[in-house]
């Protein structure tokens, strides 16, 4: 009993400590899941490595993608998708509620897709898994929505931190992309989860910088040249975004079972991979080569590789494979960087440019920042996975320029575009969030006096005397159905004319052409209708019965309360 009392005290008064503890636990769990996926991917690559040289190797990605989509569709019954938008959607719409099975489903399906050679990354699936683990642990502890969202963020942060051995990136990615909200309340548990996730990955697979390099000597000319790279990176980001979406539309038009489609996409990837192996899989060891300067191909090949990787990624993800775009972004980014370096050397052969690895690294930051439109994530991720703090200045330049250009051309980032188009991106403290939280039933004004259609004007005058409102709903006395509205302005001329008090019944003076609102209407729609007709209030009618008025005055009142409650943290 004392234990539950202590627990309740935490919940009630100050939940910070509780959230920190649960956050760390979730960070450990999602860290383990990330290591698990990483290990099974390597094992799968190893196992399939021997078959790569056969002429029929191009069907391996097809088999993987088909199995993956069959698994998602038939066994766990979840749609395809990257994972990250699903998590953002759940956070903005359902308070971070995710299904238990989402904790492992993407791990299996992405392992099948990527392990067999599909061009995708394991990061988004692991973010989904981590978030689902967090969501379910939060449910176990009976947390409320605000707390659950923080714990879902902890899961995502732990996963990213663990897979990249990069705690700050985990934290920044979660806050910048998943939650869209920085408060002292959610930063601390998420930071702890990042630390826990990173530590787990260090214990289980050693403390390795993912893409180490020997350090670069950078002079101002190199920083200036990175501006040009930012342009190319932005162009590649937009190309990848459009190509992914385009491919998705094409595959939607093809009428075939979902696993056949995935197999078609996989075949295409396999064929591309036979000519340019860099396009296959998540491609991490190619990135390693490029950063070290061991990728020896010339400018033409490098440029072709950019295009084939974009194509392969679009075929994989657009046709139903399972995986994220993080890793492809990194590969494409480093290829773009390399191509840019080759082009610079070609134009100014005498200039002493810094190592090509430097450009590969900047290219990655440009792509990540451009696609996600999350410059901080781009900067910190690259700093951490390359262990190179000395490139921070050009990194900031490239990330800022690339994400700005991409934002100008594609106002919504790749993850958020669909959500934004459906109006389901509800960031905390925004107008959309407040309006979607408030319901018509919370704004109901019930102090209107209903009158009957056959009432005499004389009786009505008495009611007018008692009422504080200008609106009077008119009902049918037998059925109680709403039949019209009387507004005081309309009947003002009759009020001062006692001669007609007994000559007029309300039915004659009421307005029957009234815009009504159902109680479950969406507030933005209601407001739009009010604005269009210049109304200040509208009657709410359920099952033909008047239940109250909704007005802009009350809305402002409640809106303010809601905004204060949502944005003020104690």
């Amino acid at each position: 009993m004392p234990l539950t009392r202590i627990y309740r005290r935490f919940m009630n008064n100050n939940d910070r400590l509780l959230l920190m503890i649960i956050g760390a636990i979730v960070g450990v769990c999602s860290g383990i899941a990330a290591v698990l996926l990483n290990r099974s991917l390597s094992a799968m690559l190893e196992w399939l490595h021997h078959y790569r040289d056969y002429y029929w190797a191009f069907i391996i990605p097809a088999i993987g993608a088909a199995l993956s989509s069959l698994f998602l569709e038939k066994i766990v019954k979840e749609g395809a998708g990257h994972g990250v938008p699903e998590v953002i959607y759940s956070v903005s719409r359902y308070g971070g509620l995710l299904r238990m099975r989402s904790g492992f489903s993407r791990l299996v399906s992405s392992c099948l897709t990527i392990g067999s050679g599909g061009s995708a990354g394991p990061e988004a699936p692991i973010v989904m898994s981590g978030s689902a683990i967090g969501s379910n642990i939060a449910r176990m502890f009976n947390l409320n929505e605000r707390q659950r969202i923080t714990i879902v963020g902890c899961g995502a942060a732990g996963a990213i931190s663990s897979i990249f051995n990069a705690p700050i990136s985990g934290l920044v990615f979660t806050v910048e992309v998943i939650l869209g909200e920085w408060t002292a309340l959610n930063i601390v548990p998420i930071a702890l989860a990042s630390v826990a996730g990173t530590e787990i990955s260090r214990i289980l697979q050693g403390n390795q910088i993912v893409f180490g390099h020997g350090g670069f000597e950078i002079d101002p000319a190199d920083i200036a040249s990175s501006l040009g790279l930012a342009l190319f990176a932005a162009a590649a980001s937009i190309l990848l975004t459009r190509s992914l979406r385009g491919m998705h539309h094409v595959s939607e038009k093809v009428k075939a079972p979902i696993w056949i489609k995935a197999a078609i996409g996989g075949c295409a990837v396999g064929i591309i991979g036979m000519f340019t192996p860099v396009a296959l899989g998540e491609g991490y060891h190619y990135i390693q080569d490029m950063i070290r300067g061991d990728f020896s191909r010339g400018i033409i090949i490098a440029a072709v590789c950019v295009l084939t990787k974009v194509l392969a990624t679009s075929f994989t993800l657009g046709w139903g494979g399972s995986g994220g775009i993080f890793a492809p972004c990194l590969v494409i980014g480093s290829l773009v960087g390399l191509t840019y370096h080759r082009a610079l050397s070609l134009i100014w052969p005498s200039a002493a440019w810094v190592d090509e690895g430097y450009f590969a690294l900047l290219g990655m930051a440009g792509l990540i920042s451009g696609i996600l439109q999350a410059p901080l994530t781009g900067i910190f991720l690259i700093v951490e996975i390359t262990g190179g703090y000395n490139v921070i200045l050009p990194l900031i330049v490239v990330s800022a320029v690339s994400s700005s250009i991409c934002h100008y051309i594609e106002p919504a980032s790749f993850y958020l575009k669909d959500l934004k188009e459906k109006g389901q991106l509800l960031r905390p403290g925004t107008d959309a969030r407040v309006l979607s939280d408030l319901k018509v039933t919370e704004l109901l004004e019930t102090d209107c006096i209903a009158v009957h259609r056959n009432m005499l004007l004389r009786d009505f005058i008495d009611i007018v005397k008692r009422s504080r409102r200008n609106y009077f709903p008119v009902e049918d006395e037998n059925t109680g159905h709403f039949v019209g509205m009387i507004h005081l302005d309309v009947i003002r001329p009759f009020i001062f004319n006692p001669e007609i008090y007994d000559a007029v019944v309300l039915e004659q003076i009421m307005d029957t052409d009234v815009d009504i609102v159902p109680p479950d209407a969406d507030l933005p729609d209601v407001l739009q209708r009010m604005d269009a007709k210049r109304l200040f209030s509208m009657p709410v009618v359920a099952d033909d019965k008047f239940i109250g008025m909704v007005s802009k005055a009350t809305l402002l009142d409640q809106y303010r309360k809601e905004l204060i409650v949502q944005t003020t943290t104690a």
Binding site: N12, G95, R146, D437, K439, D462, V565
Partner: protein, 227 residues
Amino acid sequence: MKLLSSDLAKKLNIPRDTLDRWIRQGRIPVLRKGDACEFSRGVLIRWAKEHNIDFSETPSVEGSMTVDHPDSLASAMIQGGVFYKAPGDGIDEVLQNAVSVIPGLSEKMKQRLLSMLIERERMTSTGIGGGVAIPHPRTPISDICETSFITTCFLESPIDFKAVDDRPVFVLFILSSPDIKKHLHLLSRLAFCVRDGDFISFLKKEPEPDALYSMVAEFEKRLEVSR
């Protein structure tokens, strides 16, 4: 502390749906136990203050729908008293004699009230017809009286009060209230009584104070019923 969620919503002056949602979303330091809400009073009061939300210990009945009128016409009349045979030929003289008998006022107060009544009569007559006048100050004077009073004064002989119907006035109801709301409330009730012909003929008989009070109370009851 435990409360039903509907009661807590009333205390916080927010719709119940909003309270339920805030609890679910974790925006308010309240725990849900079935139908009941569990919270620590101090924490919740602090939270309400920080978020600009009222927390009232005694929930008001349906907001400000019922206007607060402790003063009934009868009680104001009892407060002011009834006087007979007030002498005088002109308006000023009659008013002076009438004010001088009002109970519970100092000499200085009576002087002020009188000058305000005369000033008001100069503007337009308060003779509302039927031989009745309701002299009152133009603005309420809260320092003269804390509660409203109506002093009834039957005149020795009816005088010309420049009333709307030019009929001589035989009775004065001197009305004074601490604020405008109470003033209007009493004025409208008094007007309701005076409009009635039976009431006027009843007044003409110069009834005893108790008979007058019970008559007025009866009229007030009729007014309540018609609402």
